[in-house]
Amino acid sequence: MHTIASIREGLRAKEFTAVEVAREALEFAERENPKTNAYLLLCPERALAAAAEVDRKLAAGEDAGALAGVPIAVKDVILTKGVRTTCASKMLENYIPPYDATAVERIEAAGGVVIGKTNCDEFAMGSSNENSYFGPVRNPVALDRVPGGSSGGSAAVVAQGTAVVSLGSDTGGSIRQPASFCGVVGVTPTYGRVSRYGLVAFASSLDHIGPFARNVRDAATVLGVMAGRDPMDSTSAAAPVPDYAAGLDGNDVRGMKIGLPVEYMKHATGDTADRIHEAVAKLRDIGCEVRDISLPSTDYAIAAYYIICTAEASSNLARYDSVRYGFRSADSTTLSGMYRNTRGEGFGDEVKRRIMLGTYVLSHGYYDAYYLKAQKVRALIARDFTNAFQSVDAVVAPVSPFPAFRIGEKVNDPVSMYLSDIYTITGSLAGIPCMSVPCRTASTNDAAGLPVGLQILCNHFEEQKMFRLAHAFENS
């Protein structure tokens, strides 16, 4: 399977052209997709045009960019000009964006070849990719299992090898959890590190765009291309972007101080706990100093997260009124009837549930008890991390309490589905960079062979340090 480096090397040595790589990726994706349903659409025209441009630049001796000729899949909540973008919802089944997301623009400017759009939970709401209007995605590692969510398709295509890297979005774990379930690297950068211009909004104070890859170096390269200030997103950060990939070389992690949160480990059982303890032992072997730390507000994170994200979602999704774009219910004689019918018919169950919950917690009489309280608890969770990073360089933790579960296992139990996000939402609420990097696979009973991810969390804008640790762990 290709990596960014193997494509760069092959293009340089003229073993293949970018058009050949793109054509092969498109054919492979088309052939594999019936197994997993990971792609909602392939865009050969756009891909081959981008690849031809890379070949032209190389032939002319020009710099073709850091991602020259690399086949990339993009989650279908990220806009691609002229290429249908559905958010896996009936509401946007026929939506053709009139502009590109900044992340996509930067990927293509660096020579990346967007080959298709990936399936996900509807409007990125879910932890199993079972909430897609276009059907669930199957985990390529075990086809009866979920790939995780919401960016399940983006994780699956990298795991199956139909794309070299992919873009996902993460609000409460939607990159890290599917990366962990599919055995690939997934990165949620610092809040504001990557522009969200062109990312369909779910919960604006929590939404991130980030990469999936089969190794840390590729993920670091893609993040480096996308990161940085964008005048089109006022929340994008002006902080300089280091060369993340170059920073991996010649830097060891000896003496790095790492915290293991006791509140996380007390819930971890079975394979997950075993793999994390093994990972900790490995980190010690490569010279890291691992100690227990406390993040005392952890137990309140799920409640705070599901109040904040649903409140923001209920507000963001108010825009789906069927006036300017999207599905419109057929038989409405009044404007307000059109809104109600369209939204009732156009949204799936989970989206409706979150709009209802968000509307409720923001409604008169409940705002202080739920929304305001949740924002204060969020401040406490962020403070836990601020305190922790005064004594450690990084925090390591599980990504999910269990490996990939079976399709259908949790889909009718929203409470249990929400509880499975326990380890990922704390980092999201704090806005810090976090990632999942594969450990050894699970070994017990029916979970044998399923991937398990190690989560690494660092302080704001310390992606460089996070990648160095992940890279050292990957190679240990």
Partner: protein, 99 residues
Amino acid sequence: MRLTEKDVRYVAALANLDLTDEEVGRMLHDLDGILGQMEVLAGIDTEGVSPMAQVLFGADDYSTLRADVERTPLDNELALQNAPVSGNGCFKVPRVIER
């Protein structure tokens, strides 16, 4: 039960969501279960804690502003291309004087 069917219908109306009777029943059950999980928040002391609405970093006052330069807006045809119903360069909707 923390919620009643009446509450669910009231919130659905606020959210402009048409729910079937069957959906109202399911929503009542699901929301009630989820709100039960939220009760844990009442037990945590947040006295003197400022609410955190956004992740903020140290930056100068104008860092969120972009340069004030003229840009071409989305042209009319492109803006209307995804409209369910349009005409004469406008979005078309049902009559607005009745609810």
